[in-house]
Symmetry: C2
Subunit: 289 residues, 2 copies
């Protein structure tokens, strides 16, 4: 099953991810409309053939006429939008999102979904450390993971349609997690890594370091270039899971610290062997990349 | 000043870095000889035109006939080699190395350098997470930093010759640090990053994570694939500086942890702004890579 080629797809929020969704879907022949807050972003997307129609006002017709609506907004903006405009949505419309946390928003979002429409959460595990529709690039989905995040109230049809969306967008691998599993996973793989990168970058301000560095340090700090409004919101909406993962990581870091302090080469080597073994699972195309 | 084209260069230790040095120097027309412990590595390098001559025995003639000797060995192997064979070295020979720590070895190495020869330490900030001469690749030097690490006993001629070596190898930027500065810098930029990657990889063994991950996690853990013998030795030889950097980093991590716990978005955002600002200094070609 997939959705029909003449489907009307509405993207709400034309940033990097919303823009990349629009680009991919337009290329596949869908009718893509966008609503976003900056007219210049809409103009750019129209001029570059990323969308068919668009505007900065929330048009009742555009919302009511959509077969699928994709919300690519900050979590609190998504909730506010649904509170204000949810009633415009027609029965039969499938709603989905790209939000980085799920447990904290799904229930409230569902309370604004009109009867006959259905919201199913999803998380495209793709991105760049740049923002905005001007950096939109549907190539970021090619080797990436797409996660469908159903709750018990989702229908099989909606779950399948969301999976099909991930396929149409070009994702390499599609998985399913419930909201709690999703939030625990994202706390470790994404939020903790951002905490580490920010902490590392804050730990030393020597401006000469760039003359000495190798690429390892660059790799570890690329995501230290971070949108503070979005990420502080994501961290705080997933506080419990994030603190748990930070605790687990710090216990390992402290174990390594104590091994250095005690000159315990055996502990150092056993941690290094474990990390080497585990890292192999993440190889891409058989390579350590 | 540079060294003459007909210089004889001896590489001791034909691993990834020794092999990449040999490859670059052979391409530039120098006479490169290698001594390494595995005959198969020597055979590979001879068959692939990486070296002109080589063997597994420490030939007195090869050592005495070298104008420059590059040691690409583990620190303790380097020290043992000099203790055993240092007396073979001729007056006028320049010795250099690629060792990842300096303060812990320079003095002992110097005690084995015969009169008229001179050792000047250097650190090529380039590598891969693979090992051995079969992965040798002189392209890794192209965008990389080369650090000359003179002590007060080094002559201006030797310092200049070591700089010229970095230039001939193709390094983009050449800097100078004394051994203490070098070891502090390397504790932060290289050793701490490896501690972080290993700790992160040890913190969660869920085999399903690869189905959900984005590239951020891959970037942070690439160096978690680590040679435990080499890195445990490097950590312990630079213990004081490494523990200091681990402490500084952990203080920042704890500050961020507490901000999440207290839902203090202001502290989170100010740390993220600082990290974003500082990360810009490490941009390559104006890009966040």
């Amino acid at each position: 099953m997939t959705f029909e080629k003449d489907s009307n797809i509405l993207i709400v929020g034309l940033g990097l991810i919303g823009g990349s969704y629009a680009m991919a879907l337009t290329k596949k022949g869908y009718h893509v409309t966008a609503i976003s807050k900056e007219q210049s972003d809409i103009d750019y997307a129209l001029e570059n053939g990323i969308i068919e129609k668009g505007g900065v006002e929330v048009s009742r017709d555009a919302v009511a006429g959509a077969d699928i609506i994709v919300f690519a907004l900050y979590p609190h903006v998504f909730v506010e939008w649904m509170r204000e405009y949810g009633s415009y949505i027609s029965a039969g419309t499938l709603l989905t999102d790209v939000t980085g946390v799920k447990g904290a928003v799904i229930e409230e979002i569902n309370s604004y979904v009109p009867a006959g429409a259905e919201f199913i959460a999803a998380h495209p595990m793709a991105g760049k450390e740049v923002y905005g529709v001007r950096n939109a690039d549907d190539g970021i989905f090619k080797d990436a993971n797409f996660i469908v995040v159903p709750t018990r109230s989702n229908t099989p049809g909606a779950i399948e349609k969301c999976r099909a969306l991930g396929e149409v967008l070009g994702f390499k691998r599609i998985s399913y997690l419930n909201p709690k599993q999703h939030d625990e996973m994202i706390a470790f793989l994404s939020q903790l890594t951002h905490c580490i990168a920010v902490s590392l970058m804050c730990a030393n301000g020597d401006p000469n370091l760039v003359s000495y560095t190798g690429d390892s340090f660059r790799d570890l700090t690329r995501i230290a270039n971070i949108n503070e409004d979005m990420w502080s919101e994501l961290f705080l909406l997933n506080k419990e899971a994030l603190l748990y993962e930070m605790d687990c990581y710090r216990a390992c870091f402290d174990k390594l610290y104590n091994a250095v302090k005690e000159s315990d080469a055996d502990v150092l080597k056993s941690m290094m062997r474990l990390s080497t073994e585990r890292r192999k699972m993440f190889n891409k195309d058989g390579k350590n990349i």
